[in-house]
Point group: C3
Chain length 321, copies 3
């Protein structure tokens, strides 16, 4: 299962300094590498690991050519992390085991669903009436794609994801709730990845839209009529409430949350565990998190925080004197 170093460079480019005949048996982090491992260094703060690593070869940027040469074989490429990403894909293809059936016999695919002949539907998936699954898209196990929802080409949907459950639409009526039937669907573009147990709700009247290249981690909630712009990435446990519009090239950290009907401009980055309560029109990093502390210190500061507005008034009063 080993790959020749020369064959890797032929496939992925980069300048190899070292023995092209070396057989690479695995990809490994610098500190755990063995002489048959290929490693990479993308962050200069790991330079020390480079010097001590026994990896058979290391991928580095041009700036680190000398340090790498002092150690042994290396591949020079402008962006080692990107090279490494492509290498993992190459590696996976080279080691692929034979695929199972295109549509697993345990999957429940409605006869009125349209599944591209190159798509793969994993075990125990449900693809409902009117749903469309595009070319090369893979649904892993236990995925539900509900009525009339569309997934584009080359998407990857992880186990347990639910595409097209009803949005949470309720009208109050004398102390009870009357359901608003969700008549829209979900439209997902190309090259989208959707994490395990993530939920994307169908729209109320129009569709919920996930644009091309969006990457969603696990356990994410996307409400009805949300639009997520191209190449935006959201980390695990984050959420976007109904009708919010997230621009392209945004990121949302883990457990970050955007309230309903808000708009985030292109290039807005929300830190982990931060709640977005107003639209953000300017690119940048935004945060709202209570800093963690040992519990005793937190208790004191939190108690004082509940009197903060009063403290401000006392400062004002002192200033007047």
């Amino acid at each position: 299962m080993a790959l020749r170093l020369g064959a890797i460079v032929e496939a992925l480019g980069g300048e190899l300094q070292g023995d092209a005949e070396l057989n690479i048996a695995r990809l490994a982090p610098l500190q755990n590498a063995s002489p048959d491992s290929l490693s990479f260094l993308s962050n200069p703060k790991f330079l020390k690991e480079l010097a001590s690593s026994v990896a058979g070869c290391v991928i580095v940027s041009p700036a680190l050519r000398e340090q790498a040469a002092a150690r042994g074989a290396f591949i020079v490429t402008p962006d080692p992390y990107l090279y490494f990403a492509r290498l993992t894909q190459h590696w996976k293809r080279a080691h692929a085991r034979p695929d199972g059936p295109r549509i697993h016999p345990s999957a429940v695919v409605d006869p009125e669903a349209v599944v591209d002949p190159t798509a793969r539907i994993g075990p125990l998936c449900v693809v409902e009436r009117g749903a469309r699954i595009g070319a090369g898209t893979v649904l892993k196990s236990n995925v539900t794609v509900s009525e009339d929802c569309q997934i584009g080409a080359r998407c990857l949907v992880h186990p347990g994801a639910v595409i097209g459950a009803d949005g949470f639409g309720l009208a109050p009526d004398r102390g009870t709730w009357v359901k608003i039937e969700q008549l829209g669907a979900v439209r997902i573009g190309d090259d989208v990845e959707i994490g395990a147990n993530t939920c994307i709700d169908r729209g109320a009247l129009e569709d919920t839209v996930i644009e091309d290249g969006v990457k969603l981690d696990n356990l994410i909630q996307v409400g009805h009529n949300v639009r997520i712009g191209k190449h935006t990435a959201m980390a695990g446990c984050s959420a976007v409430a109904g009708s919010a519009v997230i621009g392209p090239h945004c990121t949302v950290g883990g457990a970050g949350m955007v309230l309903g009907h808000l708009t985030l401009a292109e290039g807005v980055h929300i830190s982990a565990a931060s709640l977005v309560t107003r639209s953000i029109h300017k690119p940048g990093q935004y945060t709202g998190v209570f800093p963690i502390d040992d519990n005793a210190a937190w208790e004191k500061n939190a108690a004082t925080l509940r009197q903060l507005h009063g403290l401000r008034d006392r400062i004002k009063a002192l200033e007047k004197k």
Copy 2:
């Protein structure tokens, strides 16, 4: 598939001003409506959208009769949003496609479960021994209803929901954990909606109880022995820890969380992302969220927050002088 405007008003009431013969091909928001669309206006801040909309007909409140008349056909009703909710239900019924089988052949229903003949069990659901599913209730796909759990009438359970997994009960024993078997079950009332991938744990000794009319969004965690009162609604990613009692007619915003063993009175509303750390006995809106800011401003304020108690002492000292 179009519905005659007159037929809609015959079914749902309201006062029609306009051509009862107009065929309505879709329901649409004001700004995206076409001449064969029926729209609604429930929030006066969208009055501008009303004037410019080309919708064939608009549902409005009596107060907006004049503005609506200036534009074209309209239906007057005291609560346009509620009317719209009922309209979506009417629309869905009118456009219903033939149902699949009552119990999908891929579902795994234990012979000792009791499923009402009018309930529907979707593909790849699991209904375990002793479970009871009431009249008219629908389980979508991949739902699990565990041993001895009960679901009432007219409930809707979305894909991936798990009713009756074990509560998280552990007794410490010299550095390890000893499992407390969860001997209770889950009892869910009538007219309850449960979102995709939401989890409701079974009780330790007695049952976890979800009362009539409760509405739970996606990815919600309800711990063991919780009781949620009638017509309470919880938004996505919220959570209630074990043995908490939530009163009727409460709301919990997205990612809001209630700690264990607490009580919330009737009519308590918890804002999104807020953590309830003490029982709340008075109705009202409650919030605890660090306000989001650009990251640099947040960093300064967060750093100062960690010294807040000290600042208070310094203010006190200044006041003494």
Copy 3:
């Protein structure tokens, strides 16, 4: 289905004061017990419930011997809560109904997976190629165990859990994301419990590791290459981002979150809804939560919080005068 009190004490130990022939029909909390119930008291703040309870027998610590004797039959044991935990296990075994098939016929188990003959695979589970399921381990319904992932002995995995979906690995490339294939797997030790719809991602190059005795509640996200130390327990909706290392004997409260690449020492306890943003090397309880308040008070304090750094400067200026 009742158990003789004497038989319980024979099985579990403890000193019985009372009629060994009493038949116990159920385990119940003190306040809802009946004369055929066995209850326990572990927290002295429920002493009042002890006095008024009509339970047939009560489990107490030696310190409460007198109060218990004043009421009726009792069992004395050094740790009543632990005794109660063991009792629930004994009760469950005694009342066990016949098991279903060892591997449910609806489960999809790859021929190249290795399932111990004493493990149980529930309905609609997926066990992929190369996965290993250890002795006595139980997968409930709709669980996915992905390629090459290992689960040890005596584990319990609740419905909808996903073991071994891809970690969230992406390299940026001119505004788009390039997937880093996740070539590692997940290794889970013995005696681990994994809650409903919880996700544990496979590693990028090496494995994600969950050590022996770890207990994970529902809807938890564990990122790639995380390591969780022995006997650590995490409550519902919590999360650990990629490459974080959680020590043994830690706890994380509900919706608590640990950012990527951090380290928590042994015996660190994170409060509910707190975000860990730096490594913690000292055991103890750590918290970072905005205290909840009525919304009006919160608004004032939150607004002032956004000027907190400026307030500090004003205090400094006052002090200089």
